[in-house]
């Protein structure tokens, strides 16, 4: 009874226009489908042949053995794939920065502008350095040309110099403060 019901359901389904339309399309596309199936079959056969070809498999195994590709590498590869969107973003930023720097380096007018600017900011620093160098040169020259004998009285005379006094007052302050800090 149940078998008869199923059979009548099938017959009913076949009468429906959309089923008939589908069947018609299927028949029309059968050559394409067969062609595709043949290609899949060829691919499967190729895979099977490769697997059966002991020499090829042995060579492949050797190759894999002599590379550093192991499970860790594959895992790292997967993790890298996961990070690709973020990496792409970073690479794009880096690319922009590199291109910008390249543009600046090729642009003579920009380079001159930057050079002029740098000069403006460096001039006061340079002046201070030059002053310092000149000061020490002067000190050196005076020391070398000084024939005067330096006695205890000369040192005592130095003590009267306000700059020496100021320096010594710092020493005094340091000595006074040191025990308190401990």
């Amino acid at each position: 009874m149940a078998g008869q019901n199923v059979q009548s359901d099938w017959k009913e389904s076949l009468k429906q226009p959309e089923v008939q339309e589908s069947l018609r399309t299927l028949v029309e596309r059968l050559p394409d489908l067969v062609e595709s199936l043949e290609k899949v079959d060829e691919a499967v056969s190729f895979g099977r042949n490769v697997m059966n070809d002991k020499q090829t498999m042995e060579e492949l195994k050797n190759r894999l053995e002599y590379t550093n590709v192991d499970l860790d590498t594959l895992e790292a590869g997967l993790k890298l794939l996961e990070k690709l969107p973020k990496l792409l973003e970073l690479v794009e930023k880096l690319e922009t920065a590199v291109e910008f720097i390249e543009n600046v380096l090729k642009d003579q007018e920009s380079l001159e502008y930057l050079q002029d600017s740098a000069k403006t900011y460096m001039e006061p620093v340079q002046k201070r350095v030059d002053d310092g160098v000149n000061f020490w040169k002067e000190v050196q020259a005076k020391a070398e040309s000084n024939q005067q004998h330096i006695s205890i009285f000369t040192v005592l005379k130095w003590m009267k110099d306000p700059n020496v006094q100021k320096g010594l007052s710092y020493v005094q302050a340091f000595i006074d403060t040191m025990p308190k800090s401990r």
Binding site: T96, E99, F100, N103, V104, D107, E109, S110, Y113, L114, S117
Partner: protein, 397 residues
């Protein structure tokens, strides 16, 4: 000469060049199919003109040949636009040639209306009347400042939209600083006659600038619109916008920010809104009526401050949306009204205002930019010009 292009860009200023560079980077196939129409031989980096006027930068460093900034792959049509015919996808040139396009980008900038103030055109560039709003006059501002010996130094700001809304006050702060450095500040009255009701639109920066004005002892006259310059009597005539009265102020130095408007060929075209500006959607930058037309920069009706920094954020949005339109894809990029105004408050100090359509600060640096700083001054003077020439105009920043 070719008469049709995939993309025609009207204007070889900041907006036009940046957009062309971005389109050509984003779609290599457009090479040779993007035309830029501009009659000018020179391209200027205008944000430095304030410093030129204050003697802090050489005028020549703000100027380059147009041919050197036209991106590779773009075709420069050295001509002026006379008329738009968006129904036929055509622009008519001053030389009477017609150029057809598939997509149009309008980036023609803003027009300075020297005739908008009676007597200004005749007075400008001599007798102590100067303006940083034109390359040819910015050098004269410095000459006037150098030779100023005391009296009234008057600075103005008009009622119309202008490019770089902070510039009228920047030169005023620099003048104050210069006069202090040269020891004659006590012999000068610095007067700011502005048609605006307050010093700055964004509350955070307004508070900071009000303190600067107090500190510098500047006499501010809000709702005062310059209507006439009388060079013979050395008088500037303002209209008090609250009372309608005329207020005459004598000057020894007068720095004028002239009224501005959309260029004539836009004002009188179908692309303009009722105020004369290119009528674009505030988020997508696509024209509200013509789907294949886009606009950016000073010539648009975008409700934000007209600055180069705004264009830096508009250009990528426009380029991305235009390329999406070409591919038949939905437009995804949106512009949030970002603009920036580096308000120079002295020879070594600057308040770096950055904000959006909502007048909400959108600061890029990790500190309070409403504080006057030397670091931001150096950024403006030394690094932003390089960023402009070698990053922005190349379509990469």
């Amino acid at each position: 000469m070719r008469e049709n292009f995939k993309v025609v860009i009207v204007g070889g200023g900041t907006g036009g060049i940046t957009t062309a560079a971005r389109l050509l980077r984003g779609m290599k196939a457009l090479a040779g199919d993007v035309a830029i129409i501009d009659p000018a031989e020179k391209h200027y980096y205008q944000p430095l003109w304030t410093l030129v006027g204050a003697g802090a930068t050489k005028k020549e460093s703000t100027e380059r040949d147009m041919k050197d900034v036209i991106p590779e792959g773009a075709v420069w049509i050295k001509d002026a636009v006379k008329e738009f015919d968006p129904d036929k996808n055509q622009v008519k040139l001053a030389s009477n040639k017609t150029i057809s396009y598939e997509y149009l980008v309008v980036a023609a900038g803003i027009e300075i209306n020297w005739d908008g103030v009676k007597g200004l055109k005749e007075a400008i560039g001599k007798g102590g009347v100067c303006s940083n709003y034109a390359y040819e006059y910015s050098g004269y501002t410095w000459e006037t400042l150098r030779n100023f010996e005391g009296g009234n130094a008057v600075f103005t700001m008009p009622s119309t939209p202008i490019k770089c809304g902070g510039a009228p006050q920047k030169i005023m702060y620099l003048t104050d600083d210069y006069l202090r450095r040269t020891g004659i500040r006590d012999r000068a009255n610095i007067i700011f006659g502005t048609a605006k009701p307050e010093i700055f639109d964004v509350p955070k920066y307004r508070t900071a600038l009000e303190k600067v004005i107090d500190k510098k002892g500047i006499d501010t006259r809000f709702n005062h619109n310059l209507i006439e310059v009388r060079p013979d009597q050395k008088e500037a005539v303002f209209e008090n916008l609250d009372t309608g009265e005329e207020v005459v102020v004598e000057y020894d130095m007068l720095h004028v920010t002239p009224p501005m408007r959309a260029p004539g060929f836009i004002r009188n075209s179908k692309l303009a809104d009722e105020s004369g500006w290119v009528n674009v959607h505030k988020f997508t930058l696509q024209h509200k009526e013509y789907e294949n037309v886009f606009g950016l920069g000073d010539n648009t009706n975008l409700p934000t401050s007209k600055t180069g920094a705004a264009i830096r954020k508009q250009a990528p949005v426009l380029a991305e949306n235009l390329m999406a339109a070409m591919k038949g894809e939905p437009m995804k990029a949106t512009y949030d009204g970002y603009t920036s105004c580096p308000v120079v408050t002295g020879y070594n100090s600057l308040v770096l205002a950055e904000f959006d359509y909502e007048k909400e600060p959108k600061e890029s640096l990790p500190f309070n930019q409403a504080v006057e700083r030397r670091s931001t001054y150096i950024l403006k003077k030394e690094f932003l010009p390089i960023l402009y020439w070698d990053g922005m105009l190349k379509g990469i920043m």
